[in-house]
C-alpha cells in the first residue's frame, strides 16, 4: 500500500474526503487528507506529495490563494475541484498553475483520468515525440500529421496550435494559455482566433467535425486533446 503515489486531498467536506480515500486507495494511491487551506499548505510542505487534489471552496482561505502559495515553491501536479457557475475561478486557477480541474459532481473515472495525465506530465525526462489518438497520429520530431496513415497538410498556425495541445495531451489548456503560446501575450483576449483555427483543424482531423472526438472544447475554459 505504502508504495503507491502519495496524494494530498485538501477539502473541507468529510464525505468527499471519505469517497476519495476509498476510491484512491483502491487504485493504489497513498491518501492524506486535511480539511482547510493553511493546514493543506503545511502538510504539502511536510509530505512532498506526488499529487494534490484541492477544493476551491475552503473554510479558511480561498482555494486560489492556496494554489498560489503552493506554486511559490512547488510544481507538484494539482487538480482543483470546483462547482459549476465558477468558470472564472477555474480559469484563474488554471492560469495560476493548476494542472487540471473537475466540476462537482464528477465521476471517479474522470478523476482517475485527470490524475494519470497530470502525473504523466510531471514525470521528469523527455516526453514522447509521437502522439496517437484513434486514427490520427502526430510526430512532433518530424512535424508530421497523419490521418488513417495519410499525411494531412496543416498551415503553420494550425500546426502550432496542435503542437500545443499535443504537448499537454489530456490536459486542459485555457484560451489565454494557448493564445499566449501560439500568438503571443498581446493576443490573449482574441478567443475568436481559436474558434476559427480549431474549426479548421477539426475539418482536417476529425471524423465528424460536428461531433469532435479528438479536439475537445471545455466550455468557458479552453481546449483539451483527447487521449485514448
Amino acid at each position: 500500500m505504502s508504495s503507491g503515489p502519495r496524494v494530498l486531498v485538501i477539502d473541507d467536506e468529510i464525505q468527499i474526503r471519505r469517497f476519495l480515500r476509498i476510491s484512491l486507495e483502491a487504485n493504489h494511491y497513498e491518501v492524506y487528507e486535511v480539511g482547510n487551506g493553511l493546514e493543506g499548505i503545511s502538510r504539502a510542505a511536510q509530505l512532498r506529495p506526488d499529487l494534490i487534489i484541492l477544493d476551491m471552496g475552503l473554510p479558511d482561505i480561498d482555494g486560489l490563494e492556496v494554489l498560489r502559495r503552493l506554486r511559490e515553491w512547488t510544481t507538484t501536479p494539482t487538480i482543483i475541484l470546483s462547482v459549476r457557475d465558477a468558470d472564472e475561478d477555474k480559469v484563474a486557477a488554471l492560469d495560476s498553475g493548476a494542472d487540471d480541474y473537475l466540476t462537482k459532481p464528477f465521476s471517479l473515472e474522470e478523476l482517475m483520468a485527470r490524475m494519470r495525465v497530470a502525473q504523466r506530465h510531471a514525470q521528469p525526462g523527455p516526453q514522447p515525440t509521437v502522439f496517437t489518438c484513434g486514427n490520427v497520429s502526430i510526430d512532433l520530431a518530424h512535424r508530421q500529421v497523419t490521418k488513417n496513415g495519410e499525411q494531412v497538410r496543416l498551415t503553420p498556425t494550425e500546426y502550432a496550435l496542435l503542437r500545443q495541445l499535443v504537448q499537454h495531451a489530456g490536459r486542459v489548456l485555457t484560451h489565454k494559455q494557448i493564445l499566449k503560446e501560439v500568438w503571443g501575450p498581446e493576443y490573449m483576449e482574441e478567443t475568436h482566433y481559436l474558434r476559427v483555427y480549431f474549426a479548421q483543424l477539426r475539418q482536417k482531423l476529425e471524423d465528424d467535425p460536428s461531433l469532435p472526438g479528438l479536439i475537445l472544447t471545455e466550455p468557458g475554459v479552453g481546449y483539451r486533446l483527447a487521449t485514448d
Binding site: 498551415t155 503553420p156 500568438w183 475568436h192
Partner: protein, 897 residues
C-alpha cells in the same frame, strides 16, 4: 340651535392643532414692546436655567448688540458658527440653518424672529428658518417685538410714523406654544436707553426723539399687552373646546374682504385680518375679476395682495362678475358670510356719476342682513395720482393712444365716403353710415375709441353735412333731435357692442383654458404608464405656459426625489436642492417666492389629498410673475398632474402587488414541483443504499452494481434539478450577465451533443450546420445550456431509435438553430404554454422540472433572440432559436512563428 354645543368642525380643528403641535417643536416667544426691554436677556437666562436641567440646548443665532451682560450670559452655551454670506462688498452673518438641523438639539435659541436674511441663503426671512426647525421637531426660543407682527405693522406706522419693513405673519403668534411678555414701563425703557443699554451713544439721541418717544412707547406697550391678553383668551378657549367645557361660544361670524389692485387694499386686508382675529372668525379675501384688463403694474400689486392675504391666513378666492357688488353678495350668501369689508372708492367712475349709484351704494342697499364695513382709504397712499381701483376702467398706456388714433382715422375715412353719399342720398343717411362705423369701432377697437368716434362723427356730421353746412348751427328742430338721438344711440350701441366683444373674448379665453385643461386631463387619463403621463404633462405645461418643465418623483428605493427623463428643464445640483426642499416641506419655492428666490425656476409640490407625490419645476422664458388668471390655471394644471401621477403610482403599486402574488403563486408551484422531483431520486438513493447495507447473505455482484447504478442515476437527476433551479434564479434575479464572445455555432452544438452522449447514442442524430456560417457573438456557455435543455427534452419525449436533427443556418440577419424530433406533437393550445414555468403537457408522464424550456427561452431572450416551438408538417416537434447576428466578426491573423 343649541349654541352651547361645540361645533364638531371646531373641535376637530382644535384636536388637529393639538396633534400638529405634538409632532412639531415647541415655539416660545419672548415678546416685548420695543428693542431694549430685555427680551434676549430673558431668553438667555431661561436658556441657562433649562440647560442646567440637562436639556440639550444650542444657540442658533443671538445678537449681543455689544451688551456686556448679554455676552456674559452667552458664555458656556454651545454656539453654532454663523454662516458667512458674501453680499456685494460685505460679508453678512446669518444663522446656519442646515448646521442647526444637522445638530438636532432639543432647543435652539434664535434671536430676532423678524430679521430679513441676506440674499442667497435658503429663506428670505428668518421666521421661515424657524418654521423649518420646528418642523424638524426641535423647540425654538425666539424674540420679537410687537411692531413686527403683520397685523400690527400698520398701526405702528400710524402711531410712530415709522414704516416697519421687517414683519412676520401673525400665524407665528398663534403657533407659539408659550409667550413670555417682557414688560417694562416706558419711563424705565427710556432710562435704559439713556444709560446706553439699548443703542450705542450716537444713536441714543435720534432714537429718543423718534421711536422711543414716551407717547409711542406707551402706545406700543398697550399694544403688546393687548396682544398677549388676546392670546391668553385664545388659549383659554382652545383649552375649553378641547376639554369640552361649556363656555361663551363665539357667534360664528364669517368675514369677507373685497380687494383689488389698489395699494389701499393692503390696509383693507390687514384691517380685516385684525378684526377676524379679534372676533375669532374665519375670513376670506376675494378679488372680483371683471372684463376690464389690468396693467402689468396692477397685476403685480394684485399678486402681492393675494400673497399677503394668504400669509395672513385668509381663504383666498377670485370670482368673476361684471357687477362687483352683485358678485360679492352672491358669494357672501353662498358662504354664509356675516360681514363684508370693502374700501371706500376714492374716485367715482363716471358711469356711476351718471347713474347716481356706486358699487358701495348697491352693496349696502342689497346686503340684507349682512353687515357691510366701509373702510376709508389712507391719505398718504390713497391720493396718489396713479391709483388704480379695481373698478376703474384701465387704460393701456402703451397702445391706448394708437387705438384712439385708429378710431379717429376710421371716422375721417367714413366722412370722406359721406361726401360721396350726400349728393345721392341726402345728409340724413350720413348719420346711419356713421353709426355703423361707430359700432364696428366698438367691436374691433374698443369702448373708449368708440365713444370718441361717436363724439367726433356727431361733430363732423353737424359741421359738414347738416344744413347749414360748415357751421355748427342747426336750423331745423328735427335735425337737432336727429343729432341728439344719433349721439345717444351711438353711445349706447357702442357701449353694448364693446361689452359684447369683451364677453366674447372672455368666452374665448375660457374656452382656451378649458380646452387646455381638457387636453391635459384627457391625455393623462388615457396615458398608458407613468412615462406617458409625465411626457404629456411636460408637453402641455410647456405649450400652455411657454416654459421649461421638470417633474421630479421619489426615488424608487431610498430617499429624495430625482428628475424624470421626460423633463425639459435641465437642473443642476442647486436646483435639485430647491426641489428637494419643496418635496420635504410641501411649499412652493424658487423664483418669485420668498424661499430660495435665486433658483432659476419655480417649484411646486405635486399635492394630492393623500400627500405630496412629487415636485414640478417651471422656468418661464420671462422672469415676470404669471398674471393671476394664468397662475390659477397653472395651479389647476398642477393639481391635475398630481392626481394623474398619484393614479399611476397606485397603479404601479397594484401591479407590484399582483406581481408579488404571482411570484408567491410561482414559489408555491416551485415547491410542489421540486418536492416531487426531489423525492423520486432521493427515494431511489435511499432504497438502493438500504439494500446495499442490508445484513445477511451477500448480494450478487450484478445486483450490487445495479443498485450502485441506480444511485448514480438518481444523483445525476438531482444534479440536473439543482442546475435548473440555479439557472432559473439567476435569470429571475436579473443577475445574469452575458459573456458575449465570437463563437462557432458548430462547436457549441458539438459540445451540447457530447454532453448528452448517452441518450443521443440510442437515437439517430443528424447535425447540419451551414458550412460557412460566420461566428456569432453570444455567450457560449449559456447557449450551450439552451441546446442541452432542448436535446434533453427531445430525448425525454421520444423513444430510442427515433430521429433528432439539429440544424443551423444564417437567415436574414439572424442565426437560426432548430432542434427537431419525430416524437408526438404538442397540442396546439400548449405550444406557447410549454414555456411557462412548471407547465406540463397534460396526459404525459414524463419526469422533469418544467423549468428547462422557460430557462431556455429566458437565456435566448437575454441574447435579444427568440425561441418558439412548433409541430412539424409530418410528425414531430421543432424548436427554433433565432439569435440576432450583429456586426462582423473581427479578422483573424496567422501566428507569427
Amino acid at each position: 340651535m343649541d349654541n352651547k354645543r361645540p361645533d364638531p368642525d371646531a373641535l376637530l380643528a382644535t384636536i388637529y392643532k393639538e396633534e400638529k403641535r405634538l409632532r412639531r417643536g415647541k415655539l416660545k416667544l419672548f415678546f416685548g414692546m420695543a428693542a431694549g426691554v430685555g427680551k434676549t436677556y430673558a431668553m438667555l437666562e431661561e436658556a441657562r436655567r433649562i440647560k442646567a436641567d440637562g436639556v440639550d440646548l444650542i444657540v442658533g443665532y443671538v445678537e449681543t448688540h455689544g451688551r456686556r451682560e448679554t455676552k456674559q450670559l452667552l458664555e458656556g452655551l454651545e454656539i453654532i458658527p454663523r454662516l458667512k454670506v458674501a453680499y456685494r462688498s460685505t460679508i453678512l452673518e446669518e444663522m446656519d440653518l442646515d448646521a442647526v438641523l444637522a445638530r438636532r438639539p432639543d432647543v435652539v435659541l434664535v434671536d430676532e424672529l423678524a430679521h430679513t436674511n441676506a440674499p442667497g441663503v435658503r429663506h428670505a426671512k428668518r421666521y421661515q428658518d424657524v418654521l423649518d426647525i420646528l418642523e424638524a421637531g426641535i423647540d425654538v426660543y425666539t424674540t420679537v417685538n410687537v411692531q413686527h407682527f403683520d397685523s400690527r405693522a400698520d398701526a405702528v406706522r400710524q402711531i410712530t410714523g415709522i414704516t416697519i419693513h421687517e414683519t412676520v405673519p401673525d400665524t407665528l403668534l398663534e403657533l407659539a406654544d408659550d409667550i413670555e411678555l417682557i414688560d417694562l414701563t416706558p419711563e424705565e425703557l427710556r432710562k435704559r436707553l439713556f444709560e446706553g443699554k439699548v443703542y450705542t451713544a450716537e444713536r441714543i439721541k435720534v432714537a429718543a426723539d423718534n421711536f422711543f418717544r414716551l407717547g409711542n412707547l406707551t402706545a406700543l406697550r398697550m399694544m403688546a399687552l393687548r396682544l398677549t391678553a388676546e392670546r391668553v383668551d385664545h388659549q383659554l378657549q382652545d383649552y375649553m373646546e378641547l376639554k369640552r367645557i361649556a363656555g361663551p361660544w363665539k357667534s360664528g361670524e364669517r368675514l369677507l374682504v373685497a380687494f383689488g389692485p389698489s395699494p389701499f387694499s393692503e390696509r383693507l386686508i390687514r384691517w380685516t385680518r385684525r378684526m377676524a382675529y379679534n372676533l375669532e372668525a374665519p375670513w376670506m379675501a376675494v378679488f372680483v375679476e371683471t372684463s376690464t384688463p389690468l396693467s402689468e403694474e396692477a397685476q403685480a400689486m394684485l399678486n402681492r395682495h393675494f400673497d399677503l392675504a394668504r400669509s395672513l391666513g385668509a381663504e383666498v378666492m377670485t370670482i368673476a362678475g361684471e357687477n362687483v357688488s352683485d358678485a360679492l353678495l352672491a358669494l357672501a350668501r353662498q358662504r354664509n358670510i356675516t360681514q363684508i369689508v370693502i374700501g371706500k372708492p376714492l374716485r367715482k367712475r363716471w358711469a356711476e356719476i351718471l347713474s347716481g349709484t356706486s358699487h358701495v351704494d348697491r352693496l349696502i342697499r342689497n346686503s340684507g342682513d349682512i353687515d357691510v364695513y366701509i373702510v376709508t382709504g389712507d391719505e398718504a397712499q390713497g391720493t396718489r395720482s396713479n391709483v388704480i381701483l379695481p373698478s376703474l376702467p384701465k387704460i393701456d398706456r402703451h397702445d391706448g393712444w394708437q387705438r384712439y388714433l385708429l378710431a379717429t382715422g376710421a371716422i375721417g375715412l367714413v366722412t370722406l365716403i359721406d361726401f360721396l353719399i350726400v349728393p345721392i342720398a341726402g345728409y340724413q343717411l350720413v348719420g346711419l353710415t356713421d353709426l355703423l362705423a361707430v359700432l364696428l369701432i366698438a367691436v374691433y377697437i374698443g369702448r373708449g375709441p368708440a365713444l370718441l368716434a361717436a363724439a367726433l362723427s356727431a361733430l363732423s356730421w353737424n359741421f359738414l353735412f347738416i344744413v347749414p353746412r360748415f357751421t355748427l348751427q342747426i336750423f331745423l328742430p328735427q335735425d337737432f333731435a336727429l343729432l341728439l338721438l344719433y349721439f345717444a344711440i351711438a353711445l349706447f350701441a357702442g357701449n353694448l357692442a364693446a361689452r359684447l366683444r369683451i364677453r366674447e373674448q372672455q368666452a374665448l379665453f375660457n374656452a382656451e383654458r378649458n380646452m387646455a385643461l381638457f387636453t391635459l386631463t384627457n391625455e393623462t387619463a388615457s396615458a398608458i404608464d407613468m412615462d406617458a403621463v409625465l411626457n404629456t404633462a411636460v408637453v402641455q405645461v410647456s405649450r400652455v405656459f411657454g416654459a421649461e418643465v421638470a417633474i421630479l418623483l421619489p426615488r424608487p428605493a431610498g430617499e429624495g426625489i430625482e428628475p424624470h427623463p421626460s423633463s425639459s428643464l435641465q437642473m443642476d445640483e442647486k436646483e435639485k436642492g430647491v426641489a428637494g426642499w419643496v418635496y420635504e416641506y410641501g411649499r412652493v419655492a424658487g423664483r418669485n417666492t420668498d424661499t430660495l428666490p435665486n433658483a432659476s425656476a419655480r417649484y411646486y409640490p405635486l399635492r394630492t389629498p393623500s400627500g405630496i407625490v412629487g415636485v414640478i419645476g417651471i422656468r418661464r422664458r420671462s422672469r415676470e410673475r404669471l398674471p393671476f388668471d394664468q397662475e390659477s390655471l397653472l395651479e389647476t394644471f398642477i393639481g391635475q398632474i398630481a392626481l394623474a401621477v398619484e393614479r399611476e403610482m397606485l397603479d404601479e403599486a397594484a401591479a407590484q402587488a399582483t406581481l408579488l402574488r404571482e411570484s408567491e403563486r410561482l414559489s408555491a408551484a416551485l415547491l410542489n414541483s421540486i418536492s416531487h422531483e426531489l423525492r423520486t431520486p432521493i427515494a431511489s438513493v435511499r432504497g438502493a443504499s438500504d439494500s446495499l447495507l442490508q445484513p445477511g447473505p451477500a448480494l450478487s455482484e450484478d445486483i450490487r452494481r445495479q443498485l450502485a447504478r441506480d444511485i448514480l442515476d438518481a444523483s445525476e437527476r438531482l444534479n440536473r434539478l439543482v442546475e435548473n433551479l440555479l439557472d432559473m434564479s439567476r435569470l429571475e434575479s436579473g443577475r445574469l450577465q452575458l459573456k458575449r464572445e465570437w463563437c462557432d455555432v458548430r462547436e457549441i452544438v458539438g459540445v451540447a451533443a457530447h454532453r448528452l452522449e448517452t441518450c443521443l447514442s440510442e437515437r439517430l442524430l443528424t447535425i447540419d450546420v451551414q458550412f460557412d456560417l460566420p461566428l456569432v457573438k453570444l455567450d457560449f456557455v449559456l447557449i450551450e445550456q439552451v441546446l442541452v435543455n432542448l436535446l434533453d427534452n427531445a430525448c425525454a419525449y421520444t423513444q430510442p431509435g427515433t430521429h433528432i436533427q439539429i440544424k443551423a443556418r444564417k437567415r436574414d440577419e439572424s442565426c437560426e438553430i432548430t432542434v427537431s424530433n419525430d416524437g408526438p406533437p404538442i397540442p396546439v393550445a400548449d405550444l406557447e404554454r410549454v414555456f411557462d414555468k412548471f407547465y406540463r403537457v397534460p396526459g404525459l408522464n414524463i419526469t422533469g422540472t418544467g423549468l428547462g424550456l422557460p430557462i431556455s427561452r429566458g437565456l435566448v431572450e437575454a441574447h435579444g433572440g427568440t425561441l418558439v416551438a412548433e409541430n412539424c408538417a409530418k410528425d414531430g416537434v421543432r424548436f427554433t432559436i433565432r439569435l440576432p447576428m450583429i456586426g462582423e466578426p473581427p479578422p483573424v491573423r496567422e501566428a507569427l512563428s
